[in-house]
Subunit: 303 residues, 2 copies
Amino acid sequence: MTEMDRPIKQVGFVGIGHMGKPMCLNLLKAGYPLILQGRNQKNVREVVLRGAREASTPRDVAQSAEVVFTSLPDDRVVEEIVLGKNGILEGMRKGSILIETSTISPLTARRLAATLSERGIEMLDAPLSGGDVGASEGTLSIMVGGKPETFKRVLPILEKVGRNITHVGGHGAGQVAKGANQIVVALTIEAVAEALIFAKKAGVDPEKVRKALMGGFAQSRVLELHGQRMLDRNFEPGGKARLHRKDLLIVSSLAKELGIYLPGTSMALDLWNALAAQGELDLDHSALVKVLEMMSRTEVCPG
Amino acid sequence: MTEMDRPIKQVGFVGIGHMGKPMCLNLLKAGYPLILQGRNQKNVREVVLRGAREASTPRDVAQSAEVVFTSLPDDRVVEEIVLGKNGILEGMRKGSILIETSTISPLTARRLAATLSERGIEMLDAPLSGGDVGASEGTLSIMVGGKPETFKRVLPILEKVGRNITHVGGHGAGQVAKGANQIVVALTIEAVAEALIFAKKAGVDPEKVRKALMGGFAQSRVLELHGQRMLDRNFEPGGKARLHRKDLLIVSSLAKELGIYLPGTSMALDLWNALAAQGELDLDHSALVKVLEMMSRTEVCPG
């Protein structure tokens, strides 16, 4: 049995937010001893009550774990928690693995992976899709970038928190796939919103139109789920518009750097800027429809 | 047994194009005696060889049939064939039914229905989705506008040519649903194209990204089918960009008239105008990706 085949015993987790908490609970349920650290004390206590051990710094988490997950809000915080004082890098041993599940820039992910690699530490970028519901149910989509052998080694752990787990390519590739995912979801929400508003203003029941469209080329998960949300005016998140907008800002910034023409993504960003102006970024991302409704003076609802 | 319950015996068909021909063949297969007229002599002969009878004018078709289908290129031709000299209206008897399957403006559909109604003739607008493949296999989506009792009366015939058959509302509602369908399909193609180009330019295999996205919120028929077309560079239609553009022009014109803000639809139209400038409107509508590729100087293909 080589080092690579040895099962992983101690798992660490930094960042116990709305995604981190349910993932921790699933890891505990699967029998992994867990050591964690996070700023949300309520969530931390909840996970500790189920058997996790709390550490006082990210460094302390890293010292006791072979595999460390991070689930953090943005690039700045990830860099601080990994590279900063009392950070993960200070505690990690050679041969250990960082699984970075936050949505950050592919460039930041590649840079971090290179820095860790100099110390003999492997990193996977492993952003998630599926929201807190997917995290609770252990059905997250996980898009992974990094070395294939590292992916293979931690796959049994990832399978405890997700269902559609794809190794997309080298470092940063997981983040690129997440960006692509967010482009598709944003524009499909836009597509469904425009179609339902068009139906409504043309005097036809948007609910019947949605049903008619489900059977053909227009079928999508977004038509099914977000389309229904628009009809029900159920904008409780779900996936917050604020976070989706943040993800498209990452895409847009990389597109600027690499010279990529993404007119639809730019348009969706503009519409989310308008939603920001209304102070409604904490609604579900399907609330994009509200901007279009405002512009057309209508409201999508069953006829 | 009332008049409304009596099964329909003689069916007429005007317009034997790439959609009309396979629909006629399915009607013959189902045992309906068929009388038809069309300009495409090759197609007409083929259907006549399978047992249909040819009439010399649309009027003659209408004189011999209780239900008449039309499958024609645009509003102008539909109005000419229905209202013009030797047209359908001249031949139709009171109580007979026109099933208009062309994609035309909802306003034209409503106007025609009103004119026919004055002569005691019922009309259904029944535009199709699913292309010539759906027509051949008898699996078309049919979005129907008109009176519920008329719909009920012809449903057994419609079930011989389609599978997802929805009565959406009154006259014109089928055309509105078709417009909504074309909005969703166009913008989902745009979404998938932008995502694959983003992946490619960011150095990640678009094929793996497509697979990773199939399991989550980004799932759609378009990601599945048109996404694969983009990877295979298979732009043989399928659904021609020219026809999809025509449909969005109808949507856009109605949006202008009614005051509907559809920024994504307008963008898709612009991109199809660019495809027109390249002389490539006869490609499949997934060729929208070619305009984006040109702008970003890249080509989507497996890595």
